[in-house]
C-alpha cells in the first residue's frame, strides 16, 4: 500500500516537463529542502519597479506561514496559530528565532514560538523540510527559523521608516505599527513596534465566536555597529506582550503572555578569502504565561484555576561559512539550556485549594555540532552532504519537581541522549531550465520535556490527560524525497514527493487504571514509543506569467500518514489547493485567491481522537494601490476574505471551531 503510493508519488515528481525554451533563465537550485520567504526587503530598494508595487507590509505572520507550501496551521482561536510542516509539529519540528532556541511556556500549546514575533521584526522566514544545513537542533521534520531584520549600514538615506494602520471588519480588529531605521556610516539602528487587538469574530453565516478576542503589542530594537573592516557587533531585543486573549477551542483563555528575547552577536564578514562569514551569538529569552478562566461562564468552569507557566532559555551559537575551491562549507556549534516550570492551583467551592506542578521544573541542556559541505561536482551535478550531532541531557531541577514525579515514575528521571543526523541532497541539472533533485536523510529527535515530564497535561484534541514518560526512546526517521524544478521566463513548475519512515513514533497510549485529573476528561494517556509510522506526500506548484501584468499560480499539497498498525496519524491536512491570479498594472494590484481543501476522512478516533472534516472552498480578493509623493510612498491595500461568507473549519482546527466568515480588511502604510 505504502510502497505503491510512494512509487506513484516519485514517478509524478520526476516526470520530465518539457516546454520549448528560447530565453536563457538558469535554474537556481540553492537548497532544495529550504525555502526563504522574504518579508521585508532592504529599507532602500534599488529596484524601482518593486518599490512601486503596493506590497502589503501588514500581513500577519500566521497568514505568511499558512501560505507556504506544505505548511498548515493548527488553530485554537483567532490568535497564536501553530505551524506544522508536512503534518509534523511541536517537538517533531524545530523552531528558532534567528538561530535562538526558544520554547513556549504554555502546557496547552497556546503559545507557539511564532506567536511572540511579528512580521515587523523579521527579514524573512526560513522553512526547512527535513534535515539540512540550516538546523540548530536535530529534528525529524525540519523547522522554521525566523530571521530578524538587521539594520543597514551606509544606506543612501540615513533615516527611513514606515507607519501603518490596519482594520478588519470581522471582530473590529485594529492594528497600528511603525518602524524607524537609522543608517550611519558605522552604526545602524532599527526600532519597530506594533499594537494589535480584536474583539470576538463572526463565523461564516454570522454566528459570533465567543472568546476569540486578543490584544497584544510587540516592540523590537536592533543595532549594528561596525567595529572595523569586516567586523560587526549586533544587538537585538524583542519584547512581546499579549493580554486578554481568548481561545474558543480550549477550556481556558490567557490573562497574559509575555516574552523577552535578547541577543548579542559578533560577526565577521568578508566577500573574499577562505573564511567568508563567522557569526557568534549569545542569547537569553524568557516567557511568562498565565491562563485564565475568570471570563468564562460559571457553567463552563467546574473549578476555577490558575495555570501559570514560565520558560527560560540561555544559549549561544557560532557559525562559520567557508569557501574553498568548489566547496561551500558550513560549520556550527551551538548550545542552550531551557528550563520549564508550569503549575496549577485549583479553587473548589467547598474545599481547600489544590496545588500541583504540571511541568515539574524540567530542564534540557543541548550541545550540538553541525558540519556541511555543498560541492559543485560538475556543471551538471552538485551535492550537499552534512551531519549534525547533539548531546541532549534532560532532568528535573528542583526537589519539589522530583518529589512530584516520585509517584509516577520508577527509576531515574534524568536522561542523556545522543542524537545525530546525516543527509545528502544531490542536484542534477538536465539543462538550463530543468533540474532533478533528491534527498536522503537519517535523522532523529529527543522527546520534548512535556513528553518526558508532563504531569496530567490536558489535550483538547482527544480529551485526555497526558502523563510524560522519562524513558522514551528517541524518535528516528529516514526521510527521502525527490523533486524537479522547471523554470523558464514565463513558467515555473516545482514538483516534490516525499516519504518519511519514522521509528519509535511518540504517541499517547491510554492508562486504563489511571483516574483523570481534568473534570470531564476521557481518560489518562502516557507517551509511549509506537513501533513505527510513515508519512508520504507531495507538493506541486505552478507559476505562470500569462501576460506581462497577469500571473497565475497554483500550490497543491497532499500528505498521507499512518502508523505501523494502519491507523491514520493526527494533524495531517488533506489535499489542499491554493490558486491565485495576480494582475499588476502600474501602481495597481489585484489578486483573487481560491482555496480548496478536500475532506479528511483518513482519521483515527480511537487512538488519536480525531474526527472527520468536510471539504471547504473559499474565495479571497485583494486590491492595492500605491501613491508616490517624492521619495515617500503610501500603500493602500484592501481585501475581502471569505467572500462567500462560508462557514467552515480546517482539519487542523482543534474541536472544529469555525473560522472567520466574511472579513473586510484595509491596510494603509506610509513609507519614507
Amino acid at each position: 500500500m505504502l510502497t505503491g503510493k510512494w512509487i506513484l508519488i516519485m514517478a509524478i515528481a520526476i516526470l520530465p516537463i518539457y516546454v520549448h525554451a528560447q530565453n536563457t533563465d538558469s535554474v537556481g537550485v540553492k537548497n532544495i529542502l529550504m525555502k526563504e520567504i522574504i518579508i521585508q526587503n532592504d529599507a532602500n530598494l534599488n529596484n524601482a519597479k518593486e518599490k512601486r508595487q503596493p506590497k502589503d507590509l501588514q500581513i500577519s505572520a500566521e497568514e505568511i506561514l499558512g501560505d507556504i507550501n506544505g505548511v498548515n496551521m493548527i488553530r485554537r482561536g483567532n490568535f497564536a496559530q501553530e505551524p506544522t510542516i508536512r503534518g509534523l509539529n511541536a517537538g517533531q519540528i524545530n523552531v528558532t528565532i534567528d538561530g535562538m532556541a526558544i520554547f513556549g511556556a504554555c502546557t496547552d500549546r497556546m503559545d507557539p514560538v511564532s506567536s511572540y514575533i511579528e512580521p515587523n521584526n523579521l527579514k524573512s522566514i526560513i522553512v526547512n523540510y527535513g534535515a539540512n544545513d540550516m538546523a540548530f537542533s536535530n529534528s525529524i521534520g525540519g523547522g522554521f527559523n525566523f530571521k530578524i531584520k538587521q539594520p543597514k549600514l551606509n544606506a543612501a538615506k540615513p533615516w527611513s521608516g514606515m507607519a501603518g494602520l490596519g482594520y478588519e471588519s470581522n471582530g473590529n480588529a485594529l492594528q497600528t505599527l511603525a518602524s524607524m531605521d537609522y543608517s550611519g556610516k558605522r552604526l545602524g539602528i532599527n526600532v519597530n513596534g506594533i499594537f494589535r487587538s480584536s474583539q470576538n469574530y463572526r463565523a461564516g453565516g454570522g454566528e459570533k465566536v465567543s472568546f476569540s478576542q486578543y490584544h497584544k503589542w510587540n516592540g523590537s530594537m536592533s543595532a549594528k555597529f561596525q567595529v572595523s573592516d569586516h567586523h560587526y557587533l549586533q544587538l537585538n531585543y524583542i519584547q512581546d506582550e499579549g493580554w486578554d486573549i481568548g481561545y474558543p477551542s480550549l477550556t481556558m483563555d490567557v490573562a497574559f503572555a509575555k516574552a523577552k528575547i535578547g541577543s548579542v552577536s559578533y560577526i565577521y564578514h568578508n566577500n573574499n578569502g577562505l573564511l567568508r562569514h563567522w557569526e557568534t551569538k549569545l542569547f537569553d529569552n524568557y516567557i511568562d504565561h498565565a491562563m485564565d478562566d475568570t471570563k468564562r461562564p460559571k457553567a463552563q468552569v467546574p473549578i476555577h484555576m490558575d495555570m501559570p507557566g514560565t520558560s527560560g532559555t540561555i544559549g549561544f551559537y557560532s557559525e562559520a561559512k567557508w569557501l574553498y575551491k568548489n566547496h561551500d562549507i558550513k560549520t556550527r556549534i551551538n548550545g542552550y539550556q531551557n528550563r520549564l516550570h508550569a503549575e496549577m492551583t485549583m479553587y473548589p467551592n467547598d474545599a481547600a485549594q489544590m496545588f500541583m506542578l504540571t511541568i515539574p521544573d524540567a530542564q534540557r541542556n543541548l550541545a550540538g555540532l553541525d558540519v556541511s559541505d555543498k560541492i559543485d561536482l560538475s556543471k551538471k551535478w552538485n551535492i550537499l552532504v552534512g551531519s549534525r550531532a547533539d548531546i541532549v541531557s534532560s532532568s528535573i531541577f528542583t526537589d519539589a519537581g522530583r518529589k512530584t514525579l516520585s509517584g509516577m515514575h520508577n527509576g531515574k528521571l534524568s536522561k542523556n541522549q545522543f542524537l545525530y543526523s546525516v543527509y545528502a541532497n544531490p542536484v542534477y541539472k538536465i539543462n538550463a531550465y530543468f533540474s532533478l533533485y533528491a534527498n536522503v536523510a537519517r535523522t532523529m529527535r529527543a522527546a520534548t520535556l512535556q513528553e518526558m515530564y508532563g504531569f496530567y497535561l490536558f489535550n483538547r484534541l482527544d480529551g485526555f490527560d497526558y502523563i510524560g514518560n522519562p524513558s522514551l526512546k528517541n524518535e528516528g526517521s529516514w526521510n527521502t524525497s525527490v523533486g524537479s524544478i522547471y523554470r523558464h521566463d514565463k513558467i515555473k513548475i516545482e514538483l516534490q514527493g516525499f516519504a518519511y519512515f519514522i521509528e519509535n513514533y511518540i504517541a499517547g497510549l491510554q492508562k486504563a487504571d489511571y483516574s483523570v485529573m481534568t473534570i470531564g476528561a476521557n481518560g489518562v494517556k502516557q507517551y509511549e514509543n509506537l513501533r513505527s509510522a510513515s508519512l508520504t506526500g507531495m507538493e506541486a506548484s505552478v507559476q505562470l506569467r500569462l501576460l506581462p501584468t497577469l500571473y497565475f499560480s497554483s500550490a497543491n499539497t497532499y500528505t498521507y500518514g499512518e502508523d505501523y498498525n494502519g491507523r491514520a496519524l493526527p494533524m495531517i491536512s488533506p489535499f489542499k489547493t491554493v490558486n491565485q491570479a495576480d494582475y499588476n498594472f502600474k501602481e495597481f494590484s489585484f489578486n483573487v485567491t481560491g482555496i480548496f481543501s478536500s475532506r479528511q476522512n483518513h482519521v483515527n478516533s480511537t487512538l488519536y481522537g480525531e474526527t472527520k472534516t468536510p471539504a471547504y472552498g473559499l474565495i479571497n480578493i485583494k486590491a492595492g494601490r500605491s501613491f508616490q509623493i517624492k521619495s515617500n510612498s503610501i500603500a493602500v491595500n484592501v481585501g475581502l476574505n471569505n467572500v462567500l461568507d462560508k462557514r467552515y473549519a480546517d482539519h487542523l482546527d482543534i474541536i472544529k471551531i469555525p473560522r472567520p466568515g466574511r472579513n473586510f480588511i484595509a491596510h494603509v502604510t506610509y513609507s519614507f
Binding site: 496549577m344 485549583m346 473548589p348 481547600a352 500541583m356 506542578l357 509517584g407
Partner: protein, 258 residues
C-alpha cells in the same frame, strides 16, 4: 588605673566562667509541648510531653521521670491507660505501652484519641512504680478525620487510625495506619495480618491517584504502605479491610489536608 582594669577584667572572666558551669549543669531542654506535670509520694516528678498540640487521632506521647534531685530515672515501672470519662460510662481507647528510650531519656508511648473531649473529659492514667497519676488532657477535634470507629461485618467494633509520619508532600509518601479491635470498653487489642486495600480520592474533584502501594501488616497492629498525592488539597483515603477473603470493613476512611 591600669591595675583596676586588670582586676575588673579578671572579675568579669571569673563571672562568665561561673555562668558557663551553671549552664553545663542544666540538662538539655525537651523541645516538646508540656501536657502536664505531677509529683508523686515517692518524690518522683513525672512530666508528660507531646510532639504537637493534642487533637483527635493517634499521638505519640512521652513521660520524663526525675527524682527529687532532678536526675533522670530510667528504671521506673511505667504503665499508661487512656480514659474517656462520660456522664454514663468511662471507656478507654487504643494505645501503645511505654518503652524507655535511653537516647531521649523518655518513656515513649502512643494514644489514639478516638473522639473530641466535648463536654466529657479525656485523661491518661500513668502508673509509675505502682502509683497512679492522672493527666487531664483537652482533646479538640482535629481539622480532618484522622481516626474512625467502625462496626465490622463480624459484629465487632474496630478503630482505624492514621499514624503521622513526615509532613505530607506531593508525590510518593510513606503511610502507616493502626488497626485495633474493641474487645471491651477497656481493651483494644491490635490486629495483625489483615488485608488492606487503599484508594486515595480527591472528593472535590472526584479523582484518585495511581501507583499507590497497599499497606501491609508490620506487627503491633501497624500497616505500612505508600500513597501518591498528585497535588495538595483535600484527600480522602479509603481502606477496604479484609480478614482472609472476607470483607470486615468496606470503607474505613481518613481525611487529609495539606
Amino acid at each position: 588605673m591600669k591595675y583596676l582594669f586588670i582586676i575588673s577584667t579578671a572579675f568579669l572572666f571569673l563571672l562568665s566562667s561561673c555562668k558557663k558551669e551553671n549552664a553545663q549543669l542544666e540538662k538539655p531542654a525537651i523541645t516538646k509541648i508540656k501536657i502536664g506535670e505531677v509529683v508523686n509520694s515517692q518524690n518522683l516528678k513525672a512530666t508528660m510531653w507531646s510532639d504537637d498540640s493534642i487533637a483527635t487521632g493517634y499521638h505519640k506521647l512521652y513521660l520524663s521521670v526525675t527524682d527529687a534531685s532532678g536526675n533522670d530515672v530510667n528504671n521506673a515501672t511505667v504503665n499508661v491507660l487512656p480514659l474517656m470519662k462520660m456522664s454514663m460510662m468511662t471507656h478507654s481507647s487504643p494505645f501503645e505501652k511505654p518503652v524507655y528510650n535511653p537516647a531521649s531519656k523518655l518513656y515513649e508511648f502512643a494514644v489514639v484519641f478516638t473522639m473530641p473531649s466535648g463536654s466529657d473529659s479525656w485523661s491518661v492514667k500513668a502508673t509509675i512504680n505502682g502509683e497512679d497519676q492522672t493527666f487531664n488532657i483537652n482533646v479538640p477535634a482535629a481539622k480532618t478525620k484522622l481516626v474512625g470507629s467502625y462496626v465490622g461485618t463480624d459484629g465487632s467494633k474496630y478503630v482505624v487510625s492514621l499514624v503521622p509520619l513526615k509532613k505530607w508532600e506531593v508525590g510518593l509518601n510513606d503511610i502507616k495506619i493502626l488497626v485495633n479491635k474493641m474487645a471491651d470498653m477497656m481493651t483494644f487489642p491490635s490486629m495483625d495480618g489483615l488485608n488492606i486495600q487503599m484508594t486515595p480520592e480527591m472528593p472535590s474533584m472526584g479523582h484518585g491517584s495511581p501507583n499507590n502501594v497497599d499497606p501491609t501488616s508490620i506487627d503491633g497492629g501497624y500497616y505500612k504502605g505508600r500513597i501518591n498525592y498528585t497535588m495538595t488539597g483535600d484527600w480522602r483515603i479509603h481502606f477496604k479491610i479484609r480478614k482472609g477473603d472476607v470483607v470486615i470493613i468496606d470503607d474505613a476512611s481518613i481525611d487529609i489536608l495539606f
